[in-house]
Symmetry: C2
């Protein structure tokens, strides 16, 4: 196999000099790719998609949030989320409630069936997370969570 490195002439450090493995977005992308892949079987067996799984997980923590907020927390574009919620509603996993003060604002709630679906998924999400941290001690895990929180605060557009 031919492996050739392109070292550009500009003075700033290029990806080729840094190495893919030292570029955090590359590492996080690879890790999240494996995390999502490891949940595929469970999602298939429950007939859920990744945006639906994320929506249920977020709602299990903050039930009743607005669709626009759910889109941010679940990192799903609003158009995709809207279709995902249609299916979750048809399956009896969520229901919508219009805000009394603002009829354009729609709140999303988990039903007990939705909560049960999430409870069945959660052990697999938790396990997939634990698998990442095998052999990594508590202090190092806490340190990475702390840094990831700072990184999110640095680049998020919303207050949450």
């Amino acid at each position: 196999m031919t492996k050739k490195k392109n070292i550009p002439s500009n003075s700033e450090q290029h990806l080729g000099e840094m190495g893919l493995e030292n570029f955090p977005p590359y590492l996080m992308n690879r890790i999240m790719g494996r995390y999502n892949a490891s949940l595929k079987k469970e999602l298939l067996s429950l007939g859920l998609t990744t945006p639906q799984m994320r929506s249920l997980a977020v709602l299990s923590v903050i039930n009743g949030i607005l669709i626009s907020e759910l889109a941010v927390y679940a990192v799903v574009p609003q158009s995709t989320l809207s279709r995902a919620l249609d299916v979750l509603e048809a399956n009896g996993f969520i229901y919508r409630d219009v805000d009394e003060a603002d009829t354009r604002a729609v709140h999303i709630f988990l039903t007990s069936a939705g909560s049960e679906a999430n409870d069945r998924l959660w052990p697999h999400m938790s396990q997939a997370n634990d698998a990442m941290f095998e052999g990594i001690d508590v202090a190092e895990k806490q340190a990475v969570v702390s840094t990831l929180k700072k990184m999110l605060r640095n680049i998020r557009k919303h207050k949450f």
Copy 2:
């Protein structure tokens, strides 16, 4: 807004007790969502998609790899990657070369136009990465990269 926490009865810590912000996959998903969003304008101006951008970036480091390897590095399903490469080839950014020893194996190479497109994208990728690490010192950045590498090694399916 109604905020309600579901605290399940099982003994293991649930996402609701842990809080979304202490669940690393949630944090990485949010961070990568912002990282990808911040590159949208540049991608549009170059007429590239995220899988195409990632392919160019990976090829700039490891030119000539197999399609199957590129799919892993770029975290793009092979069917999506295949279409992305068709477009990159039509635009003169990459070319394919069949392995002399194994005609089923196809190597992908950057053309000089592809290398230039990547050189135009890279400063924005680098900037988006720098924005994440604002106010985070070198030692902390090195620590998070080191932990992310361990996490990837824990869960990757391939040797690389």
